[in-house]
Amino acid sequence: MSTTAWMITLQFAGVNALFALAIYASLWTGVLSLAPVFFGAVSAFTFGYAAGTLGLSPFLGLLLGAALGAGLGALTAGLLIRLDSHYLAMATIAMVLIGRVLILNLTEYTGGATGTLVPGDLGTWAWLIGTLVVAAYVMARLAGSRFGLAADAVREDPAVAETLAISPRRIQFVGMIISGALGGVAGILQSSFLQYIGPDTFYTHLGFVTLAAVVLGGAFHWLGPIVGAVVFTILPELLREPMGEYDRVVTGVLLVLIIIYMPRGLVDVRRLRLVRSRWWRPKGGGAEPDGPDPRDPQPTVRAEVAS
């Protein structure tokens, strides 16, 4: 690949990392949701409309995306959070699908099937890296916070979390709001990079690629989605030459292999610690919080109590 192609690929990796962080934020609390793609679409088209006609400044655009996404996240959470895992996942997929129909039909605002042009104010490295750093910083701070610990507990076992005076619904509600804010911002950056958004820009494909990124990178540490998104965006580009149209097959195969043999993903803090303690003397105490082992019987199954 040429240098420019690399640059563009890396930029998309950055945006995908934001989307992956958005999916991670809700997965952290035990909610599998593809809704960030929908949030991204809403804020991207809103931004496209606002920036195109009102000349909105880039920074205000990002704030708008975060606010809009957070609001939609809260709304979605309020309506859907009590569904059990399968239905919630599919309901959020349905949101993505409805989004496409709306984009196709609200021609006045979205340009319909032809899509719409978006000013590329945010399509620079500075904005992308700045946003990513802020997002990663927030996630890293959250990881050790009361919210982070509670989220770990809720993911591990909502019933146990409840006995610890944690309200799973409230934690998941907060998770969805963070997820929405990140998704909204990611949508605006995506539209700014592409400078053109259409009905297929924010569709199931994006959701699955980012979900795959989260799984590959590791869904138990905030670094996982970022690493996963970078790998998962670059890999198909590298494979395009030798594999041609079959490059995506590798993505799919990889996804299956990872979930079977490496369920905690590439960034696996616990495994690292295990390896480290095997080589060096363990530095007693000070264990940082970590997610549950997916090899344990999953909490979500047990949590599907009559609601």
Binding site: A91, A94, I98, E245, I259, P294, Q298, V301, A306
Partner: protein, 295 residues
């Protein structure tokens, strides 16, 4: 009135295909606990393989239909053995199978796209029944008649199989708790593989009928079915294939009617809108019962 009746018939025929697909989808979801998003690609591959047999090898359509259905079923078994069984063995919970099924979906869809090419084709007209039937001024296409008959036969057969046979008892036992079922002498693995075959084969049949009805064989067949099938399963109620079948038909009618009388553009939005509304206000579906699961 004539138009209304005709559209009602069209809706029922279209809905029969959705319903058929939903029955297979519901089998996997309710009996194996897997939200298999790759289910649509089984339908696609059923249609593609039968098309290939008819077009390239001149096999009669009916034989190709049977072989296509079997091929789709075999794909379902392969997916189960490769991806879902290792996860079951590890007791990996609910998320891992969804993600694995996304991987299978990507693989099968990419291969289907490469196999069929970007342009859609259709079964050679001389090899499939196309002569329309006129009844009391209404036009019935053979594909529509076949779809409705297939739905009635399959739903009845599967329902009887699940409720009246030893195999059905085994399936129900395994779906509640594979380990306890094994203790009382059920071969859980074989039962699950049989369910995987049955579900994928039904999807394959739905795919072939969809291709026949639309006169269009392409890699996108399964994607459309997947979403409608899922909506039917959710709205119909978890675990009851009769509910899924009824709602599949209802969705077909709703779609045709809303395209005729409201707007063809919002056709899909109406289906998914109904899906979301039902999820919000009646998460267990219209015919679903509250499920009591041991905490």
């Amino acid at each position: 009135m004539q138009l209304l009746m005709q559209q009602l018939l069209n809706g029922i025929a279209l809905g029969s295909i959705y319903a058929l697909f939903a029955v297979g989808f519901s089998l996997i979801l309710a009996k194996m606990g897997i939200l298999n998003v790759a289910h649509g690609t089984f339908a696609t591959w059923g249609a593609l393989s039968s098309y290939w047999l008819v077009f390239e090898h001149g096999i009669s359509f009916w034989l190709a239909l049977v072989l296509g259905v079997v091929f789709a079923g075999a794909l379902g078994v392969a997916a189960d053995l490769i991806a879902f069984e290792p996860l079951r063995k590890r007791n990996a919970g609910t998320f891992a199978p969804i993600i694995a099924s996304i991987g299978i979906w990507i693989v099968l869809l990419t291969l289907a796209e490469a196999f069929s090419g970007p342009t859609a084709t259709s079964y050679p007209t001389e090899s499939v029944p196309t002569e329309p039937i006129r009844v009391a001024g209404l036009l019935l296409l053979p594909a529509q008649v076949i779809s409705v008959i297939a739905l009635v036969v399959i739903v009845t057969a599967v329902h009887l199989l699940l409720t009246r046979s030893r195999f059905g008892a085994a399936v129900r036992a395994v779906s509640v708790d594979p380990r306890s079922a094994t203790i009382v002498g059920v071969n859980a693995r074989r039962t699950l593989i049989a369910v995987a075959f049955l579900a994928a084969a039904i999807a394959g049949l739905a795919g072939i009928l969809a291709a026949l009805s639309d006169n269009n064989v392409s890699f996108g067949i399964g994607e459309a079915l997947l979403l409608k099938g899922f909506a039917a399963v959710v709205v119909g109620g978890y675990g009851d294939i009769r509910g899924a079948a009824l709602l599949g038909v209802a969705i077909g009618v709703l779609e045709v009617m809303s395209a005729q009388y409201i707007s063809s553009g919002f056709r899909d939005a109406i289906t998914f809108g109904v899906l979301l509304v039902v999820l919000v206000f009646r998460p267990q579906g219209i015919f679903g019962e509250r499920q009591l699961v041991r905490a």
